[in-house]
């Protein structure tokens, strides 16, 4: 059993299909949706964890690829701009999973670990320097 965090981009034409339902029912996958913005007649975004056997995940993703849905495994919906970040640390108490954290309390540098991010967007609201942004 493995888990993958993915960002799916739905072009306008694919927003009406029950893709997530199929992933659960036909491919035996566990879906945990972090954040979604899928509006009929508009493009949509979906950030989710897909869990299951590696083989099932591959099959499920192959199914998703038969549509025009783009699967992005690296760039998630929340971006952290290291150059904008001043490492003030105002985000730290508001990040529920510790995706934004300080590995070394000696130099107090802030890092962003995208795999731990659940896209609650609290960093967007709390960063005084606009270092965090959302794709959607």
């Amino acid at each position: 059993m493995i888990t993958k965090k993915l960002l799916l981009y739905f072009p306008e034409c694919e927003t009406e299909k029950p893709i997530v339902y199929k992933l659960v029912k036909d491919f035996n996958l566990m879906i945990n949706i972090f954040r979604a913005k899928v509006t009929p007649d508009e493009e949509g975004y979906l950030v989710l964890d897909i869990g299951g056997d590696e083989e099932d995940i591959e099959k499920g993703l192959a199914y998703v690829r038969t549509f025009k849905v783009e699967i992005n495994e690296t760039n998630k919906g929340v971006r952290w701009d290291q150059d904008r970040c001043t490492a003030c640390g105002n985000c730290l108490p508001h990040c529920p999973t510790g995706a934004l954290h300080v590995p070394d309390r000696g130099n107090m540098k802030v890092v962003f670990e995208a795999t731990r991010c659940i896209e609650c967007l609290s960093c967007l609201r709390n960063c005084p320097f606009g270092a965090c942004s959302s794709l959607f």
Binding site: G89, H94, R105, N107, F129
Partner: protein
């Protein structure tokens, strides 16, 4: 014992021994105070954080025909123009025209004076829109143009209050979230914000202002600026602990420097949701080690520095003066503290990491002979309290 000129001779010849305020702690532990005081010439201190009482004077030069600008906006942010014809003052906390502020609470405050100043230092083009009533010798009534910092005759940062010696720790004891200049504070004390570089902070390393005074050369966001006055609200008569660390804000500095020499990494616009805009600045101040006492003060460490916990929902807003307790910067920097048996997560608006970077830059500049220390022209007041505003019924 050393003098300013002896230290400057060593700096000029590239032989000065310079350490940061962090490095000096272990150094003195190892070598002992006396030996270290003989060896070390300068200790560099630094801080980086929002400093609202900041801004800059700009001189545009004259248009043809000439104009006596009486109202001015830079990227739609109002600049003060109640001075000479083509001089303005851009303040850090000025909001952009038409910003709804907190009308739709909490407001976003995306752009303001601090962001204009950041753009200028970064060399970006800024729009000037100016209006005038017109006079015989200044006939032009309206101007709209784009300029960058190199087009200006002068761009001088003049900050009435920077480098607060110590600062409140903000919590929210109410049952509703609040938005403050120390960030978003969740109800029932679920988080705390501090704002000081602690053991690196300039005035905590010279708590009685023995070397930092009016005329002291400082590193202001990369430029060589100086202290031009005591900062507003300078209140050194605050209670102090055995290390001279004040239990509250205490001393402040008024700083000035040439913006054309600044580095945009250390001049950053700030947006605080529900509160407003500001400017975050990097400041470095060298402390010449004239004697053992001055050196001993620079060995102050995070665990020796306590700051007061203040409830920003009630006690700050209502100026009750109530302090809920004290915490050290060692505890604060760990990420979690305990207040009244409750675990509270800490965040900061002051970047220790950037302060370290500045202390290292200043150290290199001094070692390479590019940055000399200066003796104050006038010391800062050592006894002074902060007065509240009396709201009177009439002028009697």
């Amino acid at each position: 014992m050393k003098t300013y000129s002896e230290i400057n001779e060593k700096i000029a010849s590239g032989k000065a021994i310079v350490l940061t305020a962090e490095e000096i702690i272990d150094y003195v532990d190892r070598k002992g105070l006396k030996a270290a005081a003989d060896e070390v010439d300068v200790v560099t201190t630094a801080t980086f954080g929002p400093m609202c009482s900041s801004g800059c004077f700009l001189n545009f030069g004259h248009s043809n025909p000439k104009m006596r600008i009486s109202e001015a906006w830079l990227d739609d942010v109002l600049a003060y123009s109640g001075i000479a014809a083509v001089d303005v003052y851009m303040g850090a906390t000025q909001l952009r025209h038409n910003d709804p502020a907190n009308m739709y609470y909490p407001g976003e405050f995306r752009f303001g004076g601090g962001h204009v100043i950041e753009k200028l230092v970064a060399g970006k083009k800024v729009q000037l829109f100016g209006l005038s009533y017109g006079t015989d010798e200044y006939p032009l009534r309206e101007v709209r143009t784009w300029f960058d910092i190199n087009d200006l005759n002068q761009a001088v940062m003049v900050n009435p209050r920077n480098c607060y010696q110590n600062y409140n720790l903000a919590v929210n004891c109410s049952d509703k979230p609040i938005y403050t200049y120390l960030g978003y504070l969740r109800p029932n004390m679920r988080n705390l914000t501090y704002c000081s570089a602690g053991q690196l902070s300039p005035l905590l390393n010279d708590p009685f202002y023995m070397t930092i005074g009016i005329g002291t050369r400082v590193w202001l966001a990369g430029a060589q600026g100086h202290v031009y006055a005591e900062g507003t609200q300078h209140a050194p008569s605050t209670e102090r602990n055995e290390f001279g660390v004040p239990t509250g804000g205490a001393g402040t500095l008024a700083l000035t420097g040439d913006m054309k020499q600044m580095d945009a990494n250390f001049v950053r616009g700030v947006s605080l949701k529900g509160y407003g805009v500001s400017l975050a600045l990097g400041v470095g101040i060298p402390i010449p080690i004239l004697n053992e006492t001055i050196l001993r003060h620079t060995t102050v460490r995070d665990r020796d520095i306590q700051a007061p916990i203040v409830d920003y929902a009630k006690d700050y807003a209502q100026a009750t003066g109530t302090v809920l307790g004290y915490l050290s910067y060692e505890e604060l920097k760990s990420g979690e503290v305990v207040i009244q048996d409750k675990k509270v997560k800490t965040g900061s608006l002051s970047s220790y990491s950037k302060a370290l970077e500045i202390a290292e830059i200043l150290k290199s500049e001094i070692r390479e002979g590019h940055f000399l220390v200066s003796e104050p022209i006038t010391p800062l007041p050592k006894v002074q309290e902060m007065k509240p505003l009396l709201v009177r019924e009439n002028d009697a």
